[in-house]
């Protein structure tokens, strides 16, 4: 089911009655193709859960439209939308067994849509098998681990074959190992069912690893939409660049002078087409290459060996934070010794931003 959000806006009245309304979601416009897995990503309080509630119908938008396929569902109550929602804390009914929990949405159906009893049980078993909890059917939720409860919640959301599946922070209550496993699981289930799925997360790694598309939000405004790798490689603005990637991107105050990108005293790169003047420069950690003749001269603070890679913590006067961090292959780390180190920078790992608007500057290339 294709899902279209058109100028979707949600404002809440201010606690302080005289204050301005709080805009939780601001003109969200996005078309989600059928059968994709979309990660809604942003820091806490950026409006991603509100967006999910708007799609599910638990909240009504202030303005804008929501379409499932060609059907306008903006005015429909949640029960008529045919969405499945997995809550952050799963919201399994504690007094019902796993089987009863999964059967619950089916038993709500009326008239022709209501399957026979055997049909319901068969569907519940099928959903349980899909998430691999068919051996736990007679237990109560309190007798399950967090990961198992999560699967039950997914099975309950899937059993009625929703048009859209929504997951609110599906992995946040799981431990690190289970999180890795479960996100693969979500990917598999989504592939097998082909249901258009949107999940909310504040963990960028989670979103990057399994999504077909990610939507980065901040303060209720969509910052960028695209496939994970392309958003990572081509951020639209400084916020997206900073939000994606671990360790985070290093930000420097720079300048384009006589066609040279200059960081402090160091002329690091000859550019073509970049406007002269101040720029904010983002360099991904993997963009540093140790080079005894390199133009980027830095203080060396620490070298952290992490197996395959080595993390070099350096200082530079142009750096906006106290230190910056570069990731280099461990075999190159002999170059990092003493008090200073020199780098050359990989041009495709450098992003230039307008210091005022923080929008990315794209019309430049490296001079031959």
């Amino acid at each position: 089911m294709k899902l279209v959000l058109d100028q979707l806006t949600k404002t809440f009245p201010n606690r302080n009655k005289k204050g301005p309304d709080v805009v939780a979601v601001n003109s969200f416009t996005f078309e989600i193709p059928d059968g994709t897995l979309v990660g809604l990503l942003g820091p806490s309080g950026c409006g991603k859960s509100t967006t999910l509630n708007l799609i599910s119908g638990l909240e009504r938008p202030t303005s804008g439209r929501i379409l499932f396929g060609d059907e306008d569902v903006t005015e429909l109550p949640p029960e008529n939308r045919g969405v499945g929602l997995v809550f952050q804390n799963y919201a399994l009914y504690p007094h019902l067994t796993v089987r009863q929990n999964i059967l619950f949405p089916l038993q709500n159906l009326k008239g022709d849509a209501r399957p026979s009893k055997e049909e319901m049980l068969r569907k519940a078993d099928e959903a349980a098998r899909l998430v691999q909890i068919d051996w736990l059917m007679d237990r109560k939720p309190s007798e399950l681990s967090g990961g198992q409860q999560q699967r039950v919640a997914i099975a309950r959301a899937l059993v009625k074959m929703p048009r859209v599946l929504l997951l609110d922070e599906p992995l946040s209550n799981l431990d690190a190992r289970l999180r890795l496993q479960t996100r693969e699981e979500i990917r598999r289930i989504q592939r097998e069912t082909g249901i258009t799925t949107i999940f909310v997360t504040h963990d960028q790694e989670e979103a990057m690893s399994i999504s077909d598309l990610i939507v980065v939000m901040s303060d209720g405004v969509v910052q960028q939409i695209g496939p994970p790798q392309s958003v990572y490689d081509h951020p639209d603005n400084l916020f997206v660049a900073k939000f994606l990637g671990t360790p985070p991107i290093n930000v420097f105050t720079g300048e384009v002078k006589d066609g040279w990108l200059t960081l402090g005293e160091d002329r690091v790169l000859k550019l073509q087409g970049a406007p002269e003047g101040a720029v904010t420069v983002g360099v991904r950690p993997e963009g540093f290459r140790i080079d005894a003749e390199g133009p980027f001269r830095c203080g060396l603070k620490a070298v952290e060996v992490m197996g395959r890679d080595t993390s070099v913590v350096g200082t530079h006067p142009a750096c906006q934070s106290e230190t910056f961090r570069g990731i280099i292959p461990s075999e190159d780390r002999d170059g990092a010794a003493g008090d200073t180190v020199r780098f050359s920078l990989k041009p495709n790992k450098i992003h230039l931003f307008d210091p005022a608007t923080e929008a990315v500057l794209r019309d430049w290339s490296v001079a031959p």
Binding site: L58, P78, L85, F87, A91, Y93, F104
Partner: protein, 295 residues
Amino acid sequence: MKTQWKAWLYLLPAVAFLGVFMVYPLVDVLVYSFEEGYNFASQSYSGVGLFNYSYVLHDPYFLQAVKNTFLIVIITVPLSTGLALLISLGLSSIRKLRDLFQTVFFLPYVTNTLAVGLVFMILFKKTAYTDGMVNLLIQFFGGTGVDFIEGPYWAKMFVMCFYTIWVVMPFKILILTSALASVNQVYYNAARIDGTPRWRMFTRITLPMISPMIFYLVITGFIGAFKAYSDEVALFGTNLNAAGMNTIVGYVYDMLYGNSGGYPSFASAAALILFAIVFTITCINLLISRNNVQY
């Protein structure tokens, strides 16, 4: 061993008080109930046996008291709990004036029993000057009035139950509104997403979630109703036997203090019979709740 010794030392004051003021009198009551022909003045008795029980169980006043008590229990406990649930549901689904209504519903709880009795007098009692407000209303709509305080048995029982329900409901409303408020909203959201009809939401989610509280109210309600006495006095005066509205506790009281000196042996036997009834009913309640209250 040493820590155990210390523990007992700390428990000693409580154990001593309970022993002197609870256990000893209870045992004493048990002993009294088997002593035949006990005389309070001379502290002597003529024999040991089950005569006291036999007497009490054949006493028409006691049988009337048992009948009254059972009627009050059977009528008021389910009705008051059900009504309280309805009112709590109403209270939790309105926003405006909620505090006002909560206060109004809670008023009977903080009002003195006898003052409430007076209000009921005005509502129901026939005097030389007026037939009572309820009778006036009945007559206004073309019915014939009935004497609720000194009239037929069913009319008195009606007033009694009405009164009991009115008195016990505030506490139940208080407990149930807080129980309803403590049900996590996320369950209702989940149910809404799944298109659950309102009635099913109530029976499959709300009721099971608050069932521990309902059973608590039913059990305490049963015990409270079995111990009814002061409400009867407030409505019908102290001579409850004459009014035919005595309860088991009232019978025990009459036996203890009636006829200057009274019959402590009969009172003890009646009290133990009451204990046996309440104990049995509570056990049944607990057994049922164990099978039905799910978490």
